[in-house]
């Protein structure tokens, strides 16, 4: 605000004024619903998840093994030219302990969420998913994790066919 301007406009309302109808309002809940085609690349990805596998697409020009898969390389702007399974194990790139649900309501038990760089994919090819079977204070950057799949008969071809990723216990020699 410039010191030359003395009168700034705007009339603040308290939440109670609004909720209790002390100012005129109109309310509406739109009834639009959506159903998305998963598409060609992600459609294949979901079919493979149903089989308990994670698939990447590859670009022979830049050599990247890409997850999530795509039918074009955004870098080379040419069609991807191969499919390649990657492992269902990976490394925690970054993580958060969330006490917020999608609607910003508060959770007693936090959701553990992470970006996981998958083994067998190119550098920084992360997937966002949840962590489980781990205490929030035990999670570390660089921790090795493995997918925990839903039982075969419960899988429907969705990202949630993976229940979560859990830490891989250090193998005893």
């Amino acid at each position: 605000m410039s010191e030359k301007i003395k009168d700034y406009r705007g009339e603040a309302l308290k939440s109670a004024d609004f909720k209790e109808g002390r100012v005129p309002t109109e309310k509406c809940r739109p009834k639009a619903k959506f159903a998305w085609s998963a598409g060609i690349a992600i459609g294949r990805f979901l079919e493979e998840l149903k089989k308990g596998k994670i698939i990447a697409s590859t670009c022979s020009k830049c050599g990247r093994i890409m997850v999530p898969p795509r039918i074009y390389c955004e870098n080379c702007f040419k069609p991807t030219d191969g499919w390649k399974y990657v492992k269902d194990t990976g490394t925690i790139n970054t993580y958060s302990v969330s006490y917020l649900a999608a609607d910003a309501s508060r959770l007693k038990e936090p959701i553990l969420v992470a970006i996981i760089d998958l083994d067998g994919a190119s550098k920084n090819m992360g997937l966002i998913h949840k962590l489980g079977e781990v205490d929030k204070d035990e999670i570390k950057f660089g921790m090795k994790v493995k997918a925990v799949w839903k039982p075969k008969e419960e899988r429907v071809g969705a990202i949630t066919d993976i229940k979560y990723f859990k830490p891989i216990k250090e193998a005893t020699p």
Binding site: Y8, R9, T94, S98, A102, I115
Partner: protein, 388 residues
């Protein structure tokens, strides 16, 4: 310079920023626009074109928001464009206004930014869940705060930054906002207050975050010829830059915003800036979260990677420091009506360069300032460099 014309800002306007304002979006657009025109000593009939910026339609539930707001933005029977690049909109809007005039097509452009987030209830947060990929991300129950928590944590991990190093930004900006007459959340707080505030999604806590807000902002842009006729005190748009990265935000290392660097380099090249920390007198980087100010200072090449927390601890970024950052109080203090918040930053640079910022005025004789906004899925940067 490809025949580009020089473009001046000659007036700015701003409404109060509040969690909920009685005015509609159209009324807020009008109030800000009228104030900017009055400040420039001009009338709507002097404006040959209008550019409006406003962020997701989902806040309003009106899915033709540009058209809906047009009358309030003074666009009635004029060449008119609505632009939208997520959170980057507020700084991108004057860039779009700039090319309207720089191209030589128009001698003047009214630039307006509006956001009314309060219409979406019980919380505008829920509208943000529709920005995520419907197949791979939304089924996980995504929350907007998650992406910031993941990015902030990665940034902290990469450089070994502590929460208290970041909390200082919130303390500074909320303190600066005490001197801003439009501010929603000006406050005197301590680092401990930030560290003791509610954990939302670790490492993000309540006082690391800017509020949701209603508000409007506007600028009057004119060509060099018009500027010379109407004012002795024009502020020039000397640098413009913008850049977007892929929407596949989990496919890059979030510790550094490459797309902000790309936008900054474009703006610096146009402005002839070789050494940004030396040549820029003050900056308003986008600060919807406290760590974002630091992240963006680094992306803007105002310091080395990982060095912004140190400069903040040393007081360099205070109003009386060597490189004042967010002297307005930023989004953390003034508020965050998304598009209007970005344009508020450009207004602040304009007032600072004209020496009109009152209690917020930085010392010395600032001649070059920068504003930047950021948006979408860790993806978009817009940068403007102003000079007088």
């Amino acid at each position: 310079m490809f025949g580009k014309k020089r473009v001046a800002i000659v007036g700015a306007g701003l409404t109060l920023f509040r969690r909920r304002l009685k005015e509609t979006g159209k009324e807020l657009s009008y109030e800000a626009s009228k104030m900017a025109l009055d400040a420039a000593g001009m009338e709507l009939r002097d404006m040959q074109s209008v550019v409006l910026g406003t962020a997701p339609d989902a806040f309003d539930g009106v899915h033709m928001k540009g058209e809906y707001l047009a009358d309030g933005a003074g666009a009635y029977r004029k060449p008119y464009t609505r632009v939208f690049v997520g959170g980057g909109t507020g700084v991108f809007t004057p860039l779009a206004g700039w090319w309207h005039v720089a191209s030589g097509q128009f001698d003047s452009c009214l630039v307006v930014a509006e956001e009314k987030m309060s219409s979406c209830y019980p919380h505008p947060q829920y509208a943000f869940t529709t920005i995520f990929d419907p197949i791979l991300e939304r089924p996980l129950g995504m929350n907007l705060i998650w992406i910031f928590a993941l990015e902030m944590h990665r940034y902290m991990h990469k450089h070994g930054i502590k929460k208290e190093d970041i909390a200082r930004v919130s303390v500074k900006n909320k303190g600066n906002a005490l001197d801003h007459p439009c501010a929603q959340l000006g406050a005197k707080i301590t680092v401990e207050d930030v560290l003791n505030s509610e954990v939302m999604a670790w490492p993000v806590q309540r006082l690391d975050v800017s509020p949701t807000s209603d508000g409007g902002a506007a600028l009057v842009l004119v060509s060099e010829d018009v500027a010379k006729e109407i004012t002795d005190d024009p502020v020039w748009i000397d640098g413009a830059g913008w850049c977007i990265d892929s929407t596949l935000w989990t496919n890059r290392d979030l510790y550094y915003p490459d797309y902000v660097e790309c936008a900054a380099r474009m703006a610096y090249k146009m402005a002839g800036i070789k050494n940004p920390p030396k040549e820029i007198d003050l900056a308003e980087p986008y600060d919807p979260f406290d760590y974002k100010e630091l992240h963006h200072m680094e992306g803007l090449l105002l310091c080395k990677k990982g060095e912004a927390p140190k400069l903040t601890a040393e007081g360099v970024t205070q109003r009386d420091g060597d490189l004042p950052i967010n002297p307005s109080g930023g989004l953390l203090g003034v508020g965050n009506p998304i598009a209007a918040a970005g344009l508020m930053k450009v207004c602040e640079i304009f007032w600072q360069l004209r020496g009109e910022a009152g209690k917020r005025q930085i010392p010395g004789d600032p001649r070059t300032g920068l504003a930047q906004a950021w948006g979408d899925l860790m993806q978009y940067g817009s940068v403007i460099v102003l000079r007088r």
